[in-house]
């Protein structure tokens, strides 16, 4: 019988599993995150499995498909333990060589190592790669050490110790004090002090004592996938956090509301919950402590607004995801009118760490107002795309250049967008900004869920503003007038500007309309929607003016304002572009420079993508 019905049994199991891991056996960890999956990690893993079987090496080497390692640019990632050699861009064809050389002979295969673009050196070990060495991977680090579908792995690295500490050594009020002391703030975007939320929920009156715990996994920000990687890669860390929260707040029932676009997260979470139940770490009388708690998975899908607390609750009540007026806040009156504590995935994952290592230790990381670390998804025009976990207070410059490796193609950094559609763009002049909740708000952006989109000189800021507004008009629930109609009209104006129909006074009109939407919307979707517009006008007003006054797009992005022409000096007359042009707008003799008929051209960009001689100019 697997069920652990005492603290003693749990500790014994943890010890024995930890011991097993210390064996001298090698372990090959293949990254199973979505990014690597898209690169073919499944095939790599299978190749290893087959090869190990073929060579009858099961007793010599373990194979593990782990959670996301974060360095998505270089997938498929493979780490050989215990040496911690990291191989990048591994293909199934490399597998037999890896087994032969690195596992059996302990040799390093140079060509599979990461090359540091700054120094040109090949780096052997994971922790020496600048991308990793500059991070502080408290929460995310465990992803690479465990198979997310194995609770035994989680237990072996000390999982569920925090829960047992809380159940047997701490009173619920003490747990809440600890979370308050740590300074943990909501990692989903709101940044509300979690300890205070927990306390409010615990203290809120509930006639029959029912309180709910919810994990908000409806990560909707485009470009942000931290929560997904945590749920896929280390679901038990989130479950443990929720269990601790349930004990502290006095709840027996919890939900994880996860968007259906994350099928692997749903799957791995389901497996983790089942395993937790088997071991008696979820369900009735956990570890004989008296705490009973269980979690149900609820799936959203295609509704960004359901990341908003009251909209999420509406969806759980079987209704459309329409936000409600707050106050009353969900902590006081939430699901079915009962006190409900909702926290983001990353927030929950921080809880066991705080309990294990203490609020005192945790509060020493970060800045005065923002404690601990934050996982960011660093994407866009950046060399090292991936998920990075850094202490609060780190400078943007460090994230972009030291960890991110700078801008590809030697292009110039222009801006970084943080906080998703609720955030703003931060220009180069502020690149030494220390990242924390307050500082980001001061410059017109916000932390949000942690998306960081890097933009270079070839990004048009008006186009970016239009992109976000368009996104939000499609995601708006449509209940209140300012958001539904206001954002739609803002989109009209921005579209006019990007099509060369902007008028004098449009910028001022945008500012006026955006302020009203910000001030009068019912929920935070409308309330923060104007941020991308207001911040781009604040820092890139000249771009707007050039679009309006000169009908020109400096970054050559806005289609109506650009023209594709062929540089006769570079054109070799190979004719590929003419063949592929969907409008048959390119003409020319063989081996003679070709010409694009401007009337026919629909500016799809195919010719520019196909031309091997860089002969297509966009002006």
């Amino acid at each position: 019988m697997k069920k652990l019905n005492s603290l003693f049994k749990l500790q014994k199991l943890q010890e024995s599993l930890a011991e097993q891991r210390e064996s001298p056996k090698s372990c090959i960890a293949v990254c199973g995150g979505t990014g690597c999956y898209a690169y073919g990690a499944k095939d790599v893993h299978k190749a290893f499995k087959d090869e190990i079987k073929r060579q009858r090496m099961k007793d010599k080497v373990d194979l593990m498909l782990t959670g996301c390692h974060g360095f998505c640019e270089c997938g498929t990632l493979v780490v050989i333990h215990p040496e911690e050699i990291m191989y990048v861009r591994v293909m199934p064809e490399d597998v037999s060589e890896i087994i032969k050389e690195s596992v059996l002979k302990k040799n390093i295969i140079e060509r599979l190592l990461y090359i540091d673009p700054a120094s040109g050196e090949r780096i052997k070990y994971e922790h020496e790669i600048p991308f990793y060495s500059r991070q502080q991977r408290l929460v995310f680090g465990s992803n690479g050490l465990i198979d997310p579908t194995s609770i035994e792995d989680y237990l072996a690295i000390g999982g569920y110790s925090a829960l047992s500490k809380v159940l047997f050594d701490m009173k619920p009020e003490e747990v809440i004090e600890e979370i308050k002391k740590s300074g943990l703030r909501g990692r989903g975007g709101g940044g509300f002090p979690s300890g205070i939320k927990w306390e409010t929920c615990r203290d809120a009156p509930s006639p029959n004592g029912t309180r709910y715990i919810i994990c908000n996994a409806d990560e909707g920000d485009p470009g942000a996938y931290m929560d997904r990687s945590l749920l896929e890669g280390n679901p038990h860390s989130v479950i443990e956090g929720m269990l601790i929260g349930a004990y502290a707040i006095g709840s027996n029932k919890g939900y994880v509301y996860v968007r259906n676009e994350y099928p692997l997260a749903v799957k791995n979470l389901g497996i983790a919950l089942e395993q937790a139940r088997e071991y008696g770490l979820m369900g009735e009388d956990i570890l004989s402590s008296g705490l009973s708690f269980d979690v149900k998975i609820s799936r959203g899908g295609g509704a960004f607004v359901c990341g908003e607390e009251s909209a999420l609750i509406a969806s759980l009540e079987g209704r459309m995801g329409e936000p409600r007026r707050r106050p009353p806040y969900p902590a006081v009156k939430g699901l079915w009118g009962k006190p409900t504590n909702i926290n983001n995935v990353e927030t929950w994952a921080n809880v066991p760490i705080i309990i294990n290592r203490g609020a005192e230790w945790y509060s020493r990381i970060g800045t005065k107002g923002s404690k601990g670390t934050k996982i960011f998804s660093l994407v866009g025009k950046i060399n090292n795309t991936g998920l990075v976990e850094v202490p609060m207070g780190i400078k943007l410059r460090e994230i972009i250049y030291d960890i991110g490796g700078g801008i590809p193609g030697g292009k110039r950094f222009k801006a970084i967008q943080t906080g998703g559609p609720s955030g703003g763009c931060i220009p180069e002049s502020l690149i030494d900004l220390q990242v924390d909740y307050e500082k980001l708000k001061e410059v017109g952006s916000m932390m949000g869920s942690g998306g960081m989109i890097v933009m270079d000189e070839s990004t048009c800021m008006v186009d970016i503003a239009k992109y976000f507004v368009k996104f939000l008009t499609e995601e708006s629930c449509g209940k209140c007038v300012p958001c539904r109609e206001g954002l739609d009209r803002i989109l009209d104006i921005l579209t006019d500007i990007t099509e060369g129909n902007g008028k004098e006074g449009d910028i001022e009109l945008l500012e006026e309309l955006a302020s009203v939407v910000k001030d009068t919307s019912l929920c935070a979707l409308g309330g923060t929607a104007p941020n991308p517009i207001l911040s781009t006008i604040r820092y890139f007003r000249d771009e707007y003016e050039i679009h309006i006054k000169e009908h020109r797009c400096p970054a050559t992005v806005c289609k109506a304002l650009i023209a594709f022409t062929i540089n006769e000096d570079k054109c070799t007359g190979c004719g590929i572009c003419a063949k592929k042009c969907p409008q048959e707008a390119i003409s020319g003799e063989k081996k003679e420079p070709h010409k694009i008929d401007q009337e026919q051209c629909i500016k799809c960009g195919l010719c520019r993508d196909l031309c091997k001689f860089d002969a297509v100019i966009v002006s």
Binding site: R325, G478, K479, V481, P482, V516, T520
Partner: protein, 221 residues
């Protein structure tokens, strides 16, 4: 009883009362569209916004869903409120110009131009009909479908459901249906007929003025 201050007047309100109701209690009439005393408060039109003053900042909030709380300081007609309300009315007109209720409101609050594209939906999505059906008739024949600018009031699959009582309440309560602007030509979304109204400062009692106000004088009900 909760003590709060509205437009400089100190007043008391029972627990659970909204700022809108508390204001009406002292004769301050805040304009509304989606509010109805017999139905649950919805907070969708945002016309009833008021300014909530706190120590170092202020914010705008819909008074129909804002619970009165101790020590609150409320301004119902400050510059900030007036400016925001004008834009909201402008947005409403641009999405449903052919409504006398909205045209009257536009005139009362000094909206004399509509700077946005007119996209006539014939509905302001106030939800009064939906709430009437659900709460008054205990039915659930109609409801909201879709999202964002495609949100509309409809019946499932476009078919009258068995829950529908044929009471006609949805049409009756609608501030737009059957109360079309009668002036004739809408110029750039605005009806010329009500342009000569006296500004609202001289008429603080009216809620839904259904008579033309201005040179002809007005009736107070």
């Amino acid at each position: 009883m909760i003590e709060l201050t509205i437009d400089g007047i100190r007043t008391k309100a029972p627990e659970g009362m909204t700022v809108l109701e508390a204001a009406r209690g002292i004769g301050i009439v805040i304009p509304t569209l989606c509010y109805h005393p017999g139905l649950s408060a919805y907070g969708a039109c945002r016309v009833c916004i008021v300014e909530v003053i706190s120590e170092n900042s202020s914010s705008l909030d819909a008074s129909c869903t804002l619970p009165a709380s101790a020590g609150q300081v409320i301004l119902t007609n400050s510059e900030r409120v007036k400016k925001a309300r004008k834009v909201i009315i402008e947005l409403l007109i641009s999405s449903c110009p052919n409504s006398k209720t909205l045209q009257d409101m536009a005139s009362r609050f000094g909206v004399n131009k509509v700077r946005f594209k007119i996209k006539d939906k014939g509905c302001i999505l106030c939800g009064l009909c939906v709430r009437y059906c659900k709460e008054q008739m205990q039915s659930g024949g109609i409801g909201f479908v879709g999202r964002g600018t495609s949100r509309k009031v409809a019946m499932a699959f476009g078919v009258t459901p068995e829950e529908c009582r044929n009471c006609g309440g949805c049409e009756w309560i609608c501030p737009v249906c059957g109360r079309a602007c009668t002036a004739g030509n809408l110029v750039n979304g605005l009806c010329g007929g009500c342009q000569n109204l006296m500004p609202v400062e001289t008429c603080p009692v009216c809620v839904h003025c259904s008579e033309s106000v201005g040179a002809k004088g007005h009736k107070v009900y």
